[in-house]
Each structure stands twice: as C-alpha cells, then as structure tokens.
Subunit: 135 residues, 2 copies
DNA sequence: TTGAATGCAAAGACTTTGCACGATT
DNA sequence: AATCGTGCAAAGTCTTTGCATTCAA
C-alpha cells in the first residue's frame, strides 16, 4: 500500500482515498475480484464511490504495472495485485479463481519461444476443474 | 464439414446454409477469428446473414462441442474448430493468434492437479510476445 | 405443413467517456 | 489557487433476446 502512494507521487498523480482503497482491496485478497466485486466490497466504507472511478483507477494501476488484468474466459475482467505472470485455476462449479504454484512451469517459456519463433513477453495459463470443496 | 451435418441431424437440429457456412469458416482457418471476422468473411457470399445468426450458430456449436471459445485477454471471444485443449500464442504487435505444439505440456495437467487438489477438466494456455514477422 | 431458424431491431452486460463539481497539492 | 480526480449519466462495444418472416424437413 505504501508502494502505491510512492509510485503515484513519483508519477505526479494525485493520491486520493479512492485510489488507495481500490488498490488496498486487491492487495489484501487472493480472490482475483472483478470490477463489480471490488465496487461492492468498497460500498460500505465508501458509499459515494462510483464504478467509473474503480474502472479509472484500475486502468491507471494497469498502466503503472501495479496490477494485472486477467480474463479466464468470462465476459469480464478480473484483477490481481500480483503482477508476476503466474498460472491460475478456476472452479467450474463455484467460479473461484486460485493461483497455481508456478515451479513446474519453469523454463516452459523458453521451450515455447524456441518452438514458435516468438519473442515471448508474457503468459496466462488457466486451468479449469472442480476445486477440492466442490468435487 | 460432413461431421457437422451429421451431428446436427443426429441431434435433430436443422441443417441450414448459414450453419454450414459458419462452421466452414472455422474449419478452414487457423486464425482463431472473432464473431465479427467470421461475419465479415461471410458477407460477400451470404450478404443476408446477420450477426445474430453467427452468434446463435456458434452458441450451438459450442454446446455440441464442435468448436471451442477462446479469450486471449481481449474484450471479445475467438473461436476455434479444433476443440482439443491446446496452447495459443498471441502477437502483441499484430494481434494474430497462433497455435503452439502441445508436446511439451505433456503431463502438466496431472502435475497441476496434484499440486492444487482440483479435478482438472480443461485448460487454456496463452503466451504473448512478438511473432517472427513483427520482431 | 409445421416447427424451427433467420434476421432485424431492441435490450442487456460490461466498459469507456464527457463534463461539472469537488478534492489534492 | 490551480489542477487533477470524482461521480454521474450518456455513449460505446460486444453479446443476447424477442418476434415476425422464412425455410428445412
């Protein structure tokens, strides 16, 4: 959370309660929330906050590389304050989105690069199935 | 293409020129087209075909497991007549979406399953970078 | 013939934008 | 005090739906 304040100041952007609050939600969850979810979470504490502000804040954080945007195949995006590319797994039953430890993907990128001839700059690995609670 | 006719008949759905045409586009491309792209491709030959019909046909094919829906992180979906789960790579420069040979992902699913406790039913692996032509 | 599919237009979901008011520096 | 950000509402993009007409079987 302090890093956000620092980055915003460095870049000459204003440090507003709304921006802090949006980032704070992402920083303290592993749930990969949607815009709507972030908005709902903030409603009790910031009843005047608008959806537009959530969208605008996320857009800014994205451009500053403070959050990453995910799309696990839904018609909407999810957000993650962990900007490291790392694999995700989605429960097809309850919809939760968990992280997957990425040790086993070590050197996968290099293999893909040499196979395809691409210069690889990012990746999103999504797995789908039933989580331990749902199966 | 013949398989589509067969499946539609088996399931009691009508075999229409529009359905055949939509599937045919997907069957003969490796470009992972969007709905709009499919629609545009068909315009010259089927000037009366509507976007709604493309959407409805794809929805049906999806439910029959004749095509799969992809989302590489855009605000729209892409479609693929190859329904095998297989990795994709997107050029961040020109936007093309290519397939990646999936040999190297052999047994990845099992590893993820044992790490996460999920029962895995599907996967989407997306890599991003610059294609040979763009880099 | 008859029910299902098409195609148009309207509606819906998510996201972006414009602008006046308000807050940060 | 000046400027940037917020929040409302309107607009934009992609997708879905309703319904009368048309078509496959």
């Amino acid at each position: 959370m302090f890093d956000v304040v620092k980055v915003l100041k460095e870049k000459g952007y204003k440090v507003t309660p709304q921006r802090i609050a949006v980032f704070d939600v992402l920083k303290h969850t592993k749930a990969h929330p949607t815009v709507e979810a972030i908005y709902n979470k903030l409603q009790p504490t910031y009843p005047t906050m608008s959806l537009a502000t959530v969208y605008k804040s996320l857009e800014m954080f994205k451009s500053l590389n403070l959050v990453q945007e995910l799309n696990v195949g839904e018609d909407k995006f999810r957000y993650d304050a962990n900007v490291n590319p790392h694999p995700h797994i989605t429960c097809i039953s309850c919809g939760r989105v968990d992280d997957v430890d990425d040790e086993m993907f070590f050197n996968l990128t290099e293999q893909v690069a040499s196979k395809t001839g691409y210069k690889i700059t990012g990746q999103q690995l999504y797995f789908y199935g039933k989580c331990p609670e749902c199966k």
